[in-house]
C-alpha cells in the first residue's frame, strides 16, 4: 500500500469528468449549455476528456440574445467544428418576434432575463432531459446551495427549499415526464481554479478575454461596450480604452475591466491582485440583492 498525491485541480477535473459521465449514463437526451464564456469552454474540454476516444455524446446549445460580441460567435462556431460537436442555437430574437418574450425598454434594457424563455422553449422543443451548465458555487450566494444534479419541475423552475439531498457521489437523476435536470460539473471550482486549468491545459479562449481597444462608456461603476442597441444617458461619454472581459455574457450586461493583460498568465496575476468578485462586474446582478436567486427560481442558467 503506497501513498499518493493528487493535486486539487486534478481532483476537481476527476470530479467533473465523473459528473459528465453520470449525465451520459443516466439521461437519454442531454445537452451542454454553451455560452461562449470560459466556464462553458472548460466544460467542452472536460467533455472531450470524459468520453475519449469517443466523441462528445451530446450537442452544444447556445442561447443567442442577438446582442453578443462578434468574437464570441466566431469562437463558438470554430470550437464546435474542431471538436466535431453538433451545435444548436436558440434565438432570443425569435422568441421576441413570435411574442414569447417581450423586449425590455429603457436605459438599462437587457435581453439577459429573456434568455430564460428561449432556453426553456428550446429544452422543451428538443425534449432535452438534462442541461449541463458551467455555473460555479463560488460565483454568487444563491449558487452556493446548488446541487450537482439540480431538479427542475415541468415549468423549469428551481425550488431551493425542496432540493434532493446529494450524498457521497450518488446523483439521483430520476424524474417524471416533462421535468428536467440542470447539471453543474464544475460546481466546486473557483474562478482561480478555472484560470489555472486553462493555463495548465492550454485551452483556447475568445480574444475578448484579453486586452483590446474598443469604445466604452462608464455607468454606475461598470465599464460597458457601446453597440447600436445600447442606449446611453446624455451625460455618458464614449471613450476609447484598453479593456478586457472578465466574464462573457451579452453586451448589455458584460462589464469590462480596464486591463493590459494579454496572456492567461497576466490574467492570473490580475485576478490574484483583484479584490472584486467576478460577478461584481455583472450589471444583471446589481438589480437587487436577491437578483440571482429570483432568476434561478424562474429557470435561468
Amino acid at each position: 500500500m503506497g501513498d499518493y498525491h493528487l493535486t486539487h485541480l486534478k481532483e476537481l477535473e476527476s470530479e467533473a469528468i465523473y459528473v459528465l459521465r453520470e449525465v451520459a449514463a443516466q439521461f437519454e437526451r442531454p445537452v451542454l449549455l454553451f455560452s461562449g464564456g470560459k466556464d462553458s469552454i472548460v466544460l467542452v474540454h472536460l467533455s472531450r476528456k470524459a468520453f475519449y476516444p469517443a466523441m462528445i455524446p451530446f450537442p452544444l446549445l447556445h442561447i443567442d440574445t442577438g446582442h453578443n460580441f462578434t468574437e464570441t460567435i466566431e469562437f463558438r462556431d470554430r470550437l464546435a467544428r474542431s471538436v466535431n460537436a453538433r451545435l444548436l442555437v436558440g434565438s432570443v430574437q425569435e422568441s421576441i418576434n413570435n411574442g414569447r418574450a417581450v423586449e425590455e425598454k429603457g436605459i438599462n434594457a437587457s435581453r439577459n432575463v429573456l434568455q430564460t424563455v428561449t432556453l426553456l422553449d428550446t429544452i422543451e422543443a428538443h425534449k432535452f432531459d438534462a442541461a449541463i451548465g458551467g455555473a460555479r458555487r463560488d460565483e454568487e450566494k444563491a449558487r452556493a446551495k446548488e446541487r450537482f444534479f439540480s431538479h427542475r419541475d415541468e415549468f423549469g423552475q428551481w425550488d431551493p427549499k425542496n432540493q434532493r439531498p446529494e450524498l457521497w457521489y450518488m446523483f439521483n437523476g430520476k424524474k417524471r415526464m416533462g421535468e428536467h435536470f440542470r447539471v453543474f460539473p464544475i460546481s466546486n471550482w473557483t474562478e482561480m481554479d478555472v484560470w489555472q486549468y486553462i493555463l495548465a491545459e492550454h485551452i483556447d479562449l475568445p480574444s475578448i478575454y484579453f486586452t483590446h481597444e474598443r469604445d466604452v462608456f462608464y455607468r454606475d461603476g461598470v465599464w460597458l461596450a457601446t453597440a447600436p442597441f445600447m442606449e446611453m444617458k446624455p451625460k455618458e461619454k464614449v471613450q476609447y480604452r484598453k479593456v478586457r472581459c472578465r466574464t462573457v455574457g451579452d453586451i448589455s450586461c458584460t462589464g469590462l475591466t480596464l486591463s493590459t493583460a494579454d496572456t492567461v498568465e497576466d490574467i492570473i496575476q490580475e485576478i490574484a491582485a483583484t479584490r472584486v468578485t467576478e460577478r461584481g462586474g455583472r450589471y444583471d446582478d446589481k438589480r437587487s440583492e436577491a437578483a440571482m436567486e429570483d432568476r434561478k427560481k424562474e429557470g435561468y442558467f
Binding site: 503506497g2 501513498d3 499518493y4 498525491h5 493528487l6 493535486t7 486539487h8 485541480l9 486534478k10 481532483e11 476537481l12 477535473e13 476527476s14 470530479e15 469528468i17 465523473y18 459521465r21 453520470e22 451520459a24 449514463a25 472531450r48 476528456k49 470524459a50 468520453f51 475519449y52 476516444p53 469517443a54 466523441m55 450566494k141 444563491a142 452556493a144 446551495k145 431551493p160 427549499k161 434532493r164 439531498p165 446529494e166 450524498l167 457521497w168 457521489y169 450518488m170 439521483n172 430520476k174 466546486n188 473557483t190 482561480m192 481554479d193 489555472q196 493555463l199 498568465e265 497576466d266 492570473i268 496575476q269 490574484a272 491582485a273 479584490r275 472584486v276 461584481g280 440583492e289 436567486e293
Partner: protein, 426 residues
C-alpha cells in the same frame, strides 16, 4: 506585470473537504466568516455588502456571519436552511466547506455535508460545554466515517480565556467520544471566532495553548490515506465505444477508482460474473497512465472480450468484495414520509441501480444517548436506524468502515423520485 502569484505552487495544492457542526448559537457562521475574512478570501464588493447590511441591522461591527448568509428565506429568518458550499485557499491547500445547519430537524443536511468530508469541525460553546447536540454531531461524524475530527471550543473570550474551562470540556468530550470511536484522530482547539483567537492567527490571550491554530490544523492534517488504498475497486460507470474507423473495436470501461492502485498487467476479477481478466491499459485523453488510484477518473481496457456494463465492478483477485442480495445497513431517513416496512424502494449503490424491499428494522438509535431502541419500528425524518433489506439483484460491496464509496447506498421513493435515505452498509 511583475509576477507575484505562483501558478506552480497553486497547481501543487491538495484539496481538503470539511464540514462544520454546531448548534444554532455556537457561532458556526461567525467561525466560517472569520476563516474567510482572515485568510483574505473575501472580496471588496462582498465586504461592502456585508458592511452595509451590518449597519442596516444596527450592528456596530462587521457581522462575520453575514458572509455565509445564503438564500433570502434565511436572511429573513436568520437561519441556515440547507447545505451551502464555501471555498477558500491558502498557499498550502484549497478548502471546500460544507456549511450545514445545527438544528435537530436538520440531521439530514449534516449527513449530506459529512458524506464527502475529510474532516469535521465540531463546535462547542465554552459557556455550555458538551451538550446533547455535541453528542449528535459527533455521532453523525463517526457514522459517516469522517477520518479527522477537530473540536473547537468557541467563545473562550466570554470565559476569560481560562485554561481550566478548555481542559474540562476536552476531558468531557473525550470520555464520551472514545466510546464511539476509540481510534479516531481528534484535535482540540480553544478559539474565539468573534475576536479571531486561534482561528487564523495565534491568540495572545491563551499563551497556555501552543498546539496551533485551526487553520494550521486544516492545512497540515494528513489526508492521503483517507481513501481505501488497499483493495482494488472500480465500479464501471459508462462503456466507451467510439465506433469510429480509428478505434473500431475499442471497448473501454470508464469510471472513478474507488479503491486501491490499478496498473496495466494487473490480474482482475469482473463482478458479478466472477470472470478473471487482465488490465491492458489505463486510458485518458492526455495519454495512457502507468497507475490509477482514488479518486481518479480513467478508462480501463481489458484483455478479454467480456460482457460488462454500468453497475458492474472490476476488482482485485484477492477475496474480500461481498456479493449479496441481503444487506444490513445503518440508515439516516431523510423524508417527511416515514419508512415503510415491506415497502419497495429504488436503490443506488456505486453505479448500480436495483430495487429492494425493506425486510426489518433492527433498532432505532437515540443518537444523544446511543441507546438502541428495539421496539421502535417507526422511522421518521432525521432518524438513524439499522435495517435489513433485500435487493432484486446482488450488490457488489464492502463494509462502509472499509470503503466509503463501495459501502454506501441511497434509497429512492419510486413514486416521488426523491432521495429518502442514506445508507452505510454494516
Amino acid at each position: 506585470m511583475e509576477p507575484t502569484f505562483s501558478s506552480r505552487a497553486y497547481l501543487d495544492m491538495e484539496l481538503l473537504r470539511f464540514t462544520t457542526a454546531g448548534s444554532v448559537d455556537d457561532g458556526k457562521s461567525t467561525l466560517i466568516g472569520r476563516l474567510l475574512y482572515d485568510s483574505k478570501s473575501i472580496f471588496e464588493d462582498q465586504l461592502d455588502a456585508v458592511k452595509r447590511a451590518s449597519i442596516q441591522k444596527g450592528s456596530e461591527h462587521i457581522n462575520l456571519a453575514l458572509f455565509t448568509d445564503g438564500l433570502r428565506a434565511e436572511r429573513e429568518q436568520g437561519i441556515t436552511i440547507d447545505v451551502a458550499y464555501r471555498y477558500f485557499a491558502t498557499p498550502h491547500r484549497k478548502f471546500i466547506i460544507a456549511d450545514t445547519p445545527g438544528h435537530i430537524q436538520y440531521t439530514r443536511n449534516m449527513v449530506t455535508g459529512a458524506s464527502t468530508a475529510n474532516a469535521a469541525i465540531v463546535l462547542i460553546d465554552a459557556r455550555n460545554g458538551v451538550i446533547e447536540q455535541t453528542h449528535r454531531h459527533t455521532y453523525i461524524a463517526s457514522l459517516l466515517g469522517i477520518p479527522h475530527i477537530i473540536v473547537c471550543i468557541n467563545k473562550m473570550d466570554l470565559m476569560d480565556f481560562r485554561e481550566e474551562v478548555y481542559t474540562s470540556i476536552k476531558n468531557d468530550f473525550q470520555v464520551f467520544a472514545r466510546q464511539i470511536f476509540p481510534a479516531q484522530d481528534m484535535r482540540f482547539i480553544p478559539i474565539s471566532a468573534l475576536k479571531g483567537d486561534n482561528v487564523v492567527k495565534a491568540s495572545g490571550n491563551m499563551p497556555w495553548y501552543t498546539d496551533g491554530t485551526l487553520l494550521h490544523h486544516l492545512e497540515t492534517i494528513p489526508i492521503s490515506q483517507d481513501h481505501d488504498l488497499k483493495n482494488q475497486r472500480f465500479p464501471v460507470q459508462y462503456v466507451i465505444r467510439p465506433e469510429s474507423d480509428e478505434f473500431h473495436d475499442y471497448r473501454g470501461y470508464a469510471g472513478r477508482v474507488a479503491g486501491g492502485f490499478f496498473h496495466p498487467g494487473d490480474k482482475v476479477v469482473v463482478y458479478p460474473s466472477g470472470i478473471e481478466s487482465e488490465i491492458t491499459a489505463i486510458d485518458t485523453f492526455s495519454g495512457p497512465l502507468s497507475e490509477a488510484h482514488p479518486p481518479m477518473s480513467v478508462t480501463l481496457t481489458l484483455k478479454d472480450d467480456i460482457d460488462l456494463g454500468r453497475g458492474d465492478m472490476i476488482a482485485g483477485v484477492e477475496p474480500g468484495l461481498q456479493v449479496s442480495c441481503d444487506i444490513n445497513a445503518m440508515i439516516c431517513w431523510m423524508n417527511q414520509k416515514p419508512l415503510q416496512i415491506n415497502g419497495k424502494y429504488a436503490l443506488r449503490h456505486t453505479t448500480r441501480d436495483v430495487r429492494c424491499i425493506i425486510q426489518e428494522v433492527d433498532y432505532v438509535l437515540n443518537i444523544s444517548t446511543l441507546e438502541k431502541i428495539i421496539e421502535n419500528k417507526n422511522i421518521l425524518m432525521n432518524d438513524i436506524a439499522q435495517i435489513r433489506l433485500r435487493t432484486t439483484k446482488p450488490l457488489l460491496f464492502d463494509a462502509y468502515t472499509t470503503n466509503r464509496i463501495t459501502g454506501s447506498l441511497i434509497l429512492i421513493d419510486e413514486s416521488t423520485n426523491e432521495t429518502v435515505a442514506a445508507g452505510m452498509i454494516v
